[in-house]
Amino acid sequence: MTPAPSFTSATPETSGELVRNLTIFVRLLREAGLRVGPERALVAIEALAIIGIEQREDVRSALAGVLVDAPEHRPVFDALFDAVFQPGLLEQALLGRAGDAVPGAASRAAPHMPAGGDPDTDSATLRFASNQRVARALASLRAAQAAAPMTPTEAKERSGGYSRDEQLHTTDFRAMTVEEFSEAAERAALLARHLPEERTRRSRTARRGAPDLRASLRRAARSPLAIELVRREPRWRAQSLVLLLDVSGSMQRYARLMLHWAHALTAADPRTETLALGTRLTRISRRLRHRDPDEAVRNTLADIVDWGGGTRLGSCLASFNALWSRRLLGSRTTVLLLTDGLDREDTTLLASEAARLRRHARRVIWLNPLLRFEGFEPRAAGVRALLPSVDAMLPVHNLKSLEQLPAALMPGVSHQLVKPNTVAPSSAR
């Protein structure tokens, strides 16, 4: 390949445009969730000065080498690159008047972005989630350019009013539109970061806390003139959690959202374990450790072969108890069981396995979306079989209920948790 005469001979004005266009591109990437600082635009220019801009694919590789630093961001980068730097229009997009290329890009990007297909199907929401992130980035930039003084963040703030917020808050996950759902998934992920930590028996030196006489003496021995009290306070750490997620047909919508929640939990603490219960048991913790949420959830769904199928809760719990409980459950582990308790199988198995599970964990908390109904009564056989073995049953059908979870997960409060009054008193712990 010959070096790029057209670029190296570019006048200062056009290379100024190049800087501006690349800066816009970098900002787009940031909007779409990549972590690239504005200074990377300069590095990108240095790279383009070396390889030239004749070959589109070389430009793509070069920019990717500079601007992308994790494989899961590559699809997002490629989609944005295709949208902004159209074949044949590359030079114009790079050297044209600043911003010329981008405003139209969102509309031009459309063919690259299957618009979500059938919005009713769950898989559509997810399959194109990363494309949605790209589209949103382009759209917010376009909005920002239309109203010149408004920065993209301002635009975002202005579009989301309080009343809409409040509504999203209390809407049942099942009743949400595709957009609402993906926004709810993001919020749920944020909520996962605020789970209470638990106190450990270890302590560390701190400003306040109980006096540590030994350490104080040691310090006094070193510098006898200044006697100072050393104090210690207990260490805190994230609770260890195991999530058991019912992925049967009746639970699909909730399970999808809880996958996002689980991903955020896993990101906050990689020890978090998640298993999917359907007609069989699938361990999905490893998939959820992928950093990008959409990619992680997509891979997870690919792994769960019985997604949206039937439920065999009892046998799933049995295989969890047999295969995983010894490895994953410790005396400090809290099990979160997300299911509606509707099981086709013989419930005696379910009852005995649930009891076994309860014996091995610190506590079992049942997150039941069916609690959205005011007068929920545990009539289904599966529900009745599960109830005696759980410490608490909590609703998880909207963001509001997710928000209340942390309070219920405070270490040490499990015994105070009251189950719905429909529960027989004998089962209260």
Partner: protein, 304 residues
């Protein structure tokens, strides 16, 4: 013309384009796609470290070796491991020689304490470890920092000075700056995320498994003794099981080994028996072996 003339002579004038880099790699039996070549080329030109991430066995380390062979530069390798410290990675004072020096000074008469203290921390009292060696190399070396994700995070912070400024600061001596900065290749298996500060100083490339054609070519180059038809069947088989979601999918290195193993068993085509017998070359986990030997429909393509 512009790029070769306007840039400082790097000593390898013939790596003047992406194509010549691909060709140069090819001469050393390293087959790479244009994406990787572009980033590698830029890393040479921009004098920025090349950060390669990817699954084990996709040819990250091999790239550094090939680069060194192609440039005729010495390859200096730093294998990272947990607990790796500066003494092992960069430099160490030669304590026994220092002690000896003190004894000699004492024996030869009255001791001039300040002078001894100065003499004890001379350049030649340093034991050079890989990073220092690469920095002080009389010709530009290729420095391979292998599996950086295995080293502790604080070690990355230490690397920053070396990667950004091409210098190492020794408290007793001051900063040593490279005359001929090395070409740095960093690899990571991504068992943990590297720090952003480090990534920012590098050009990044995620090395993926090669496609069938490229892998076939690689296997042909690396295991030329095997029949072409066998190599093709084997590569197609490997490509198929990589999509099965195994615990540890086989890398290119494993494909090459496997083809060699099949060849050693005088196979001319894949058959169920030989595949089962040699799966251990390809897969290193019992669960994976069980899955492949029970699941994989061993449909041998007719196109062989």
């Amino acid at each position: 013309m512009h790029s070769t003339d306007s840039l400082p002579a790097s000593g390898q004038p013939w790596v003047d384009s992406i194509d010549s880099l691909i060709a140069g790699f090819g001469r050393h039996d390293y087959i790479c796609d244009r994406r990787l070549a572009t980033v590698a080329f830029l890393s040479l030109r921009m004098k920025r470290p090349l950060l390669l991430e990817g699954e084990a066995g996709v040819g990250k380390t091999e790239l550094a070796k090939t680069l060194a062979a192609m440039l005729g530069a010495p390859l200096i390798r730093l294998q990272c491991y947990e607990g790796l410290d500066i003494a092992q990675a960069a430099y160490e004072w030669n304590v026994s020689r220092q002690l000896l020096e003190i004894r000699l000074a004492e024996a030869s008469g009255p001791v001039d304490a300040p002078r001894i203290a100065r003499d004890l921390y001379r350049r030649d009292m340093l034991i050079e470890r890989p990073l220092m060696k690469a920095l002080l190399s009389p010709v530009p070396a290729v420095l391979l920092i292998d599996e950086l994700d295995r080293a502790d995070e604080p070690f990355e912070a230490f690397l920053l000075e070396m990667l950004g400024e091409n210098q190492i600061t020794i408290p007793e001596l001051g900063s040593l700056k490279a005359v001929h900065p090395p070409h740095v290749v960093i690899t990571s298996n991504r068992t943990r995320e590297l720090r952003d500060a480090l990534k920012r100083r590098c050009l990044y490339h995620w090395l993926d498994y090669p496609d069938t054609e490229r892998e076939f070519e690689i296997v042909r180059r690396r295991a030329p003794e095997a029949a072409a038809s066998l190599a093709r069947q084997a590569v197609e088989f490997v490509q198929r099981i990589r999509t099965m979601g195994l615990f540890k999918p086989p890398g290119v290195a494993e494909s090459i080994d496997w083809v060699r193993a099949l060849q050693a068993l005088d196979a001319v085509a894949l058959d169920r028996e030989r595949v089962d017998a040699t799966l251990g070359v390809l897969l290193k986990h019992q669960e994976d072996i069980e899955r492949v030997s029970s699941d994989a429909p061993l449909s041998v393509p007719a196109s062989a």
